[in-house]
């Protein structure tokens, strides 16, 4: 290692700028919640009425209310825990769209939507893809045109892009879907925790997110909100601790209908701890993220040969900033940032080939920087300095 940058970002201290993949480190309290879930709440929630099972059940029940309240969910029963956002989206897509029906989606979707829709297409579902602009932003009028062209079962759209950070006009898209009698299904993976979300006001039929990204919980837990009256068929059936065990079919009541099998108590309590931190610090955190994102956008754009993808610094955006360089491959930049400076960023297609095709980067991929609650201005400055050195050497 040479130069002043190595001193600012020495080996041994990772500058973690891959929070869009998963947030790290977690805020105070999350690890403690995981430990106490294992060491103190060992029983199976909802299975048994002895004191330890009740205590565990109460802890999960309180966590459900806390997460529901944070996301603006009116009735906590409508918020169901899933193994991940991907599982939640699969439940909704496979549970509500049948062969012969038509779906409108967008060219920015993550594979968590794109691949289930590809499977549904193979089964006879018509999938219409609305193209976003060169910054990855959707025009509601394009969505309106697509939805109004033929009877449509569902509009499936991300809340924010995991590639460009663009915040989509989801309120307009929900309204458009409903005006045409279609379901509105929203992938909130990159919005949760980074945007103030009020799901009651948004009014989508289904909205899903990860627990381990912006909500700062551990991996292995996802969240799905289902609007009252929207009843997708469950993907998984089994024990629920309720629903009259002697009945052959899954109970219809929420949340049990969609939570077959033993709940992930450590994941749920860890998620609640992350959400608790956000409830206390979220507004301040979002302001910090906005400052750091602007710093990244402007700093990266000033580097020779760098093209920043996505919306401008003044446009709505979650704290994700991707770049491509005119002559240095994305994978090389990401490798050198890690190897020389312990700066963790993600190169490639980010599980979103549709989005990269939209942006014109399907062949090259991009380097994605994403800040989180523990990122400092110094971290961002060090990353910019390191990238400047690398570009000077490698271009």
């Amino acid at each position: 290692m040479t130069g002043p940058h190595a001193r600012r970002a020495p080996r041994g201290r990772t500058i973690y700028l891959d929070n869009a993949a998963t947030s790290w480190p977690k805020p105070p309290g999350v690890a403690d919640a995981l430990c106490s879930a294992v060491s103190e709440f060992g029983a199976n929630p909802g299975r048994g009425a002895y004191r330890l099972a009740l205590e565990t059940g109460r802890a999960v029940h309180a966590a459900r209310h806390a997460v529901a309240s944070f996301l603006g969910v009116a009735d906590a029963k409508d918020l169901v825990f899933q193994p991940s956002c991907t599982y939640a989206l699969n439940l909704v897509l496979f549970g509500s769209i049948a062969p012969g029906q038509r779906v409108v989606t967008t060219s920015m979707e993550h594979n968590a939507v794109a691949r289930p829709l590809a499977m549904l297409k193979d089964r006879g579902v018509e999938v219409v893809v609305v193209r976003a602009d060169s910054a990855g932003v959707l025009d509601p009028e394009d969505v309106e045109r697509a939805v109004s062209a033929a009877p449509t079962r569902a509009v499936v759209c991300q809340h924010a892009s995991n590639v460009t950070g663009a915040v989509q006009p989801v309120a307009d898209i929900v309204d458009i879907a409903h005006a045409h009698g279609a379901l509105a299904i929203i992938d909130g993976a990159q919005a949760a925790g980074h945007l103030a979300v009020d799901l009651t006001a948004l009014g989508a039929d289904a909205w899903a997110c990860s627990g381990h990204k912006g909500l700062l919980g551990p991996a292995g837990i996802g969240v799905l909100h289902l609007a009252p009256g929207f009843e997708p068929t469950e993907l998984v059936a089994g024990g629920t601790g309720s629903g009259a065990s002697e009945e052959p079919l899954q109970p219809r009541e929420r949340p049990d209908r969609y939570e077959a099998g033993t709940l992930n108590t450590p994941g749920i309590l860890g998620l609640a701890a992350g959400v608790g931190w956000l409830a206390e610090h979220g507004e301040e955190q979002r302001a910090r993220e906005a400052r750091l994102t602007r710093m990244l956008v402007e700093g990266l754009a000033a580097l020779p040969g760098v093209r920043v993808l996505g919306p401008g610094a003044d446009e709505p955006r979650v704290p994700i900033v991707p770049i491509v360089h005119a002559s240095i491959p994305a994978d090389r930049l990401a490798y050198e940032l890690d190897a020389r400076y312990s700066i963790a960023v993600r190169a490639g297609l980010h599980c979103a080939p549709w989005a990269h095709r939209t942006l014109g980067t399907l062949e090259t991929g991009a380097v994605r920087f994403s800040v989180g609650h523990a990122t400092t201005e110094q971290d961002v400055a060090d990353a910019l300095d390191a990238l400047a050195v690398l570009i000077g050497e490698l271009a």
């Binding site: 929630p45 909802g46 299975r47 048994g48 009425a49 002895y50 009740l54 059940g57 109460r58 029940h61 459900r64 906590a76 029963k77 629920t240 601790g241 309720s242 629903g243 009259a244 109970p251 009541e253 929420r254 949340p255 049990d256």
Partner: protein
Amino acid sequence: MSRVPQRYVVFGFSTTHDALDAEAALGSAGVRAVPVPAPAALSAKCGIALRLPPDEERRARSVLAAAGIAPSARIEIDDV
């Protein structure tokens, strides 16, 4: 000397979530409701039931109604 049987009302619920919502609401209102394993005779969907003295039933129903929670089953039992 034998114990005098104590009469209780037992409410059953459709889900654990409802049972715990009910427990929280009744606890906040000062109603003496105790979570118990649902008796087989209750035919409740959820394995957790709430047991309370009969003289608390009217107030309990009022509290639950205000909280938007409806017990799915009810029986009376003697605890001996």
